[in-house]
């Protein structure tokens, strides 16, 4: 199973529900294209829900970082929601846990953008 990304709008925040494996190839390119699609506006607010992500490799981590920096340069924000233990561990090992804002509750995450 590769990755699936479903985008929904909560106010002015784009919530991307990601499920499956984010690995080099189809997984990371699907995430990249999904992020690009919602990054076209300035000051975009994006919440990436990773609750159903079963696996992420260094390429997938790279896509998260790339999405974060691209948005930051355009005045936007990318935040993460509901990390699995494995993804949380990976972000800690790579020191990215201090870079991303991470939330366990969607409503709290949405409010944090305002």
């Amino acid at each position: 199973m590769s990755v699936s990304v479903t985008t929904r709008q909560v106010g002015d925040v784009s919530v991307l529900d990601v499920a499956g494996r984010i690995t080099l190839g189809e997984g990371s390119s699907t995430l990249r294209e999904s992020l690009r699609a919602v990054t076209v506006v300035r000051d975009a607010k994006i919440l990436l829900n990773l609750e159903e992500v079963t696996y992420i490799d260094s390429s997938g981590i790279g896509e998260l970082v790339s999405g974060f920096t691209n948005l930051h340069e355009m005045g936007g924000q990318l935040k993460l929601l509901k990390l699995t233990k494995r993804v949380r561990d990976l972000l800690q090992i790579t020191k990215l846990y201090t870079v991303f804002e991470v939330f366990d509750d969607e409503a709290t995450a949405i409010r944090s953008f305002h």
Binding site: T23, L24, G25, Y55, D57, S58, S59, I61, G62, E63, V65, S66, F68, T69, R86, L90, I93, T94, K95, L96, V99
Partner: protein, 147 residues
């Protein structure tokens, strides 16, 4: 071939094409063997991910997806360890020259984390030039110590 004085058995030896299907195949086979060796669930994930990262390095950076070049994938086991050996036909690299992805602004680089993850997840990681050209990497997971 393991570099260890401990007797090992060859559990698997494959010659793989330089593509991403081979990465999936190698990870899947390594997970099967690791599970048979009694590696625990959390450690299984780490072994699988390390094999994936090393295979990606061989396919993408070593052989550069060249369909004329192969990746040799070998798994050896002993009562105390699982050893994965991955050989490519690339120009080689020095892992100590790879910038530390956790250092300063490197944290925000898109790539360069694979070797760091392998080192974090495996008990040993050795890279050497092959005499006939190409690079050999060896990943070692000790069995029965964690997970």
């Amino acid at each position: 071939m393991s570099g260890s004085s401990e007797q090992t058995n060859c559990a698997l030896h494959l010659e793989l094409a330089s593509n991403l299907d081979s990465v999936d195949q190698a990870e899947e086979k390594a997970l099967e063997i690791a599970a048979q060796c009694g590696v625990g669930e959390d450690e299984l994930h780490r072994v699988g991910m390390s094999v994936r990262e090393a295979m990606v390095n061989a396919v993408v950076h070593g052989n550069k997806y060249n369909r004329h070049k192969k990746v040799l994938f070998r798994v050896e086991t002993s009562p105390h360890s699982m050893i994965v050996i991955i050989c490519d036909e690339g120009n080689g690299f020095d892992p100590d020259q790879v910038p530390d992805p956790n250092e300063g602004e490197n944290v925000l680089r898109q790539s360069g984390r694979g070797i760091m993850l392998i080192r974090a997840f495996m008990d040993d990681y050795v890279v050497r030039r092959r005499s006939g050209g190409g690079t050999e990497v060896k990943l070692v997971k000790k069995i029965g110590q964690s997970g």
